[in-house]
Amino acid sequence: MSHQAALIVLILLPFAGSVAAAWVPTNARNAEAGLSALIGLASLVLVVLLYPAFAHGGIVRDEIAWIPQLGLNFVLRMDGFAWLMSLLVTGIGLLVVLYARYYMAPADPAARFYSSLLAFMGAMLGIVLAGNLIQLVFFWELTGLISFLLIGYWHHNAAACDGARMSLIVTEAGGLCLFAGVLIIGHIVGSYDLDRVLASGDVIRQHPLYRPVLILVLLGALTKSAQFPFHFWLPHAMAAPTPVSAYLHSATLVMAGVFLLVLLWPVLGGTDDWLWFVGATGLITFVLGAYLAIFQQDLKGILAYSTISHLGLVTLLIGLGSPLALVAAIFHMMNHATFKASLFMAAGIIDHETGTRDIRRLSGLWSFLPVTATLAMVAAAAMAGVPLLNGFLSKEMFFAETIETHSGSVIDHALPYIVTIAAALSVAYSLRFIRDVFFGPAPQDLPQTPHEPPIWMRLPVALLVLACIVVGIIPGRTAGPLLETASHAVLGADVPAYSLVLWHGFTFPFLMSMIALIGGIVVYFCLHTYLATSEEGPPLLRHVRGQRIFNSVMAALSLRWARALETFLGTRRLQPQLRIVLCIALVAATWPLVLHGLEPGRRPLSVFDPAFAILWISGAACAIAAAGLAKYHRLAALILTGGAGLAVCVTFVWLSAPDLALTQLLVETVTTVLLLLGLRWLPKRIETIGTAEARSPMVVGRRIRDFAIAVVAGAGLSVIAYAVMTRARPGGIAPYFLEHAYTQGGGRNVVNVILVDFRGFDTLGEITVLGVVALTVFALLRRFRPAPDSADVPQQQRLQNSPDDADIQRNIGDTVIDYLTVPAVIMQLLFPFIAMFAVYLFMRGHDLPGGGFAAGIALAAGLILQYMAGGIRWVEKRLTVQPLRWMAAGLLLAAATGMGAWLFSHPFLTSHTAHPVLPVIGMMPLASAMFFDLGVFLLVVGAATLILIALAHQTIRTQRASQERADTTAAGDE
């Protein structure tokens, strides 16, 4: 198969495996492990087979269009370096899978574990193979996410959750910085494609945005590789199952950061900024990590800090930035992956066998697990940089690089000494790992007595250790070619001359190694008595816990401050919201006026009529009084509002809008009835005017502020209204309606023609609104439960009923009926007339004020009158209104009329008109609009009646309810 295809398969394989693994029954460990192992093996083989393509430089690219127009394609790109990383990812992945099969307990849900593990492998490969920076970020974040799931695998223990969350937040934050950095790179280069970016290193380095880019990218890389000051998340990630630590936190995930640095070195490297930022971070991390590692009491803790330290070493090398340093960096990445993974696995075995990882409780395990011990010792020796092992070689190259002077600053001169000391420290903790665990007296009170694990659990360790030894002894023939390919891919033509041999003679680097070894041993023996009893953490920095700082900061930021800010910036109360809304609207409306100034227009005013003024003096009085009384005298306020409404109504008549006047009047009536029905359920309110509460400065202040808002709003509205009214009519669309209402709308009442024809669609929507409201009201009132204090019969009714209660012959309500006999009769007689009136209104609608809506309201009012007169039961005995039916019929009729036009292949609601002459009524316009209007009529009747009746019914329902409640309580008493 072609190389391109191979790449696609390579990236797809793990994800496919992950999906498959998710479906295998969760307790089938062997099936899961087998599947995963197969996937791992297949990928590994694939990678190995791909080697020839890169043996002598060369790049395999495969591009799949994704969002081409934005320069984002799915590009798979593998060069020698990427190949090396893929080898590590797949190879160690395979071993970890094997190891995990025997490490994980039968109780652990296997499906989740293996599927996440495979997904992680895929994501890691995605990073390595990304040929496009956005794509790299994509998989970068993905690895962070999956590692979150893996660290939190045992989410029943709190440490795991904390560690998982911390690692996620730290690395994702870094990832977002990287994202921003990449975006800026794209902005500079004009493309996210890796090859193009790599080609335009100078452009980027010259660009004013170079430093921000560098910092952002570094933030991404350093958080991922747990470099100082972001190192703190890694030790807490050790709550993960050991296979996860072995895979993610030694070989792959943490390697991503340094991988990125090496990858982008040609673009961003070679500047002082680079040297200082990267180099300094690396150096500090290298030293600090080594120092902290010594004082850990948890085996995995030691390994975690040593990982940090070794990655610091690599970062330092990358920071130094010389070609040779890069080679060394890559070489050390390989070596570190091998020995650290094996060490983690060994630690896992010990944990698994003894039940503890506390180094103070462990000792003399040599006699129990000789094989594991041997392997662990070799690996640890490699970590310490003992000759004949791979660690030694890369460390020696590292030393050689530090001796090279670069800028000749103080740091450069100090560098060799510092790194030697740090190396000594690393020797010390390696030694401690070996001696404290495997030698000394036999262990006391271990949770369980250890014995050698199954061969399959040791095999992965053995293989890795073997690699360490082989590379250590015959580097040239084993690691040599791989390193060559990788560094060639990164450095291009100018790969420096370096010799991978075991023995360079007594050189400075060798001397430094020896010093480090001896120094380390000395350090260890000085400290080990103290360490045997000391608690976790280094003497000085014990209480400076990155994690604790992190958590407290998180808590403060994400809870306390956020809460405070939210309550400060927002509100959950209604009045402030309304106040804000109104004020903003006010400002928005008046701002342009203030900005440009507003002078009244020149249109001549219509003749002033004092009567109109008087009308509005009373109207305004009503409005203001209503505003004042609405709190304590609801009924009065309601009546006054009606007064204002009447003023509005008269105004309409006055200013030649008869339709409006009519509708206003009818709606007015119904609304008032509605509110009257509602009043009954509102609580009694005792006037508090003059009490302390009312006079408190707070309240007064609020009142004044609201008053000001009200005044300004009113003033603003009237100013605008006046300004518009005094301006000439714009040459708008209005004349059209007047001209065409009769000729094409077939009606003389233009307003009505507009409603049912020109803008019939509005009316359709409007009646639907009415219908929906009725529906909602109905739905709500079925749930209605009055407040206890207004549930039972109100004072007035009791008064009216008192004579009935007194007299047995009379039943409740008779008195009222007696009182109301006359009006009742009148109202009942009135009904036919009202109905006639409604029909009349409807018929004339098209030519004279009236129309479906007015008619509907009128009829509804008539019905309500009947309810008032005869009471609910009386009415419903006689005529059964089915409002819902009426409403549905109305809507459907209106819609049908509209769709009728389709038959004539005209658009929706196109009207057809005829003017037949009917007896009695005379010539009347019969427009299809009429049927539409009929629909309006039906719906309005239905809706209005439904609302009113539903409200009126409450009295009965609730009294029945309270009655029953009373009965049940009475029954309870007996």
Binding site: A627, D706, Y722, D847
Partner: protein
């Protein structure tokens, strides 16, 4: 006339806004009613004022726009009135329900602590 009408709009709106900002549901509903009166008059005013020029065409002769007031705002006001009626009804029921369920007629459904 224009002055009177615009003042009327202003006063109605002011009274409405004042009530809308009050804490009791009944005040709010009355406020909304008054405010909507003001708004209806405002829409109407946007068509400019004309006395005795109802947009009812005399039968027969062709219509001369100059003799009639602007019918469109009237149509808009009609729609606005209807929708206003609907929303008032709905709000009334909601405030009753809220009163029923929370036992208070405060807009926040709880008596203020102060």
């Amino acid at each position: 006339m224009e002055i009177v009408l615009s003042l009327a709009i202003g006063i109605l709106a002011g009274a409405g806004v004042w009530l809308v900002l009050r804490p009791r549901t009944f005040q709010v509903i009355i406020g909304l009613t008054l405010f909507s009166y003001a708004v209806n008059l405002f829409i109407f005013a946007m068509g400019r004022l004309k006395v005795d020029a109802a947009p009812i065409l005399a039968a027969g002769q062709a219509a001369d726009p100059a003799h009639y007031t602007d019918p469109l705002p009237q149509a808009l006001v009609l729609t606005a009135i209807v929708i206003g009626f609907a929303t008032t009804a709905l709000f009334l029921v909601v405030l009753l329900a809220s009163r029923g369920l929370t036992g208070t007629d405060h807009v926040d459904g709880t008596e203020p602590d102060s």
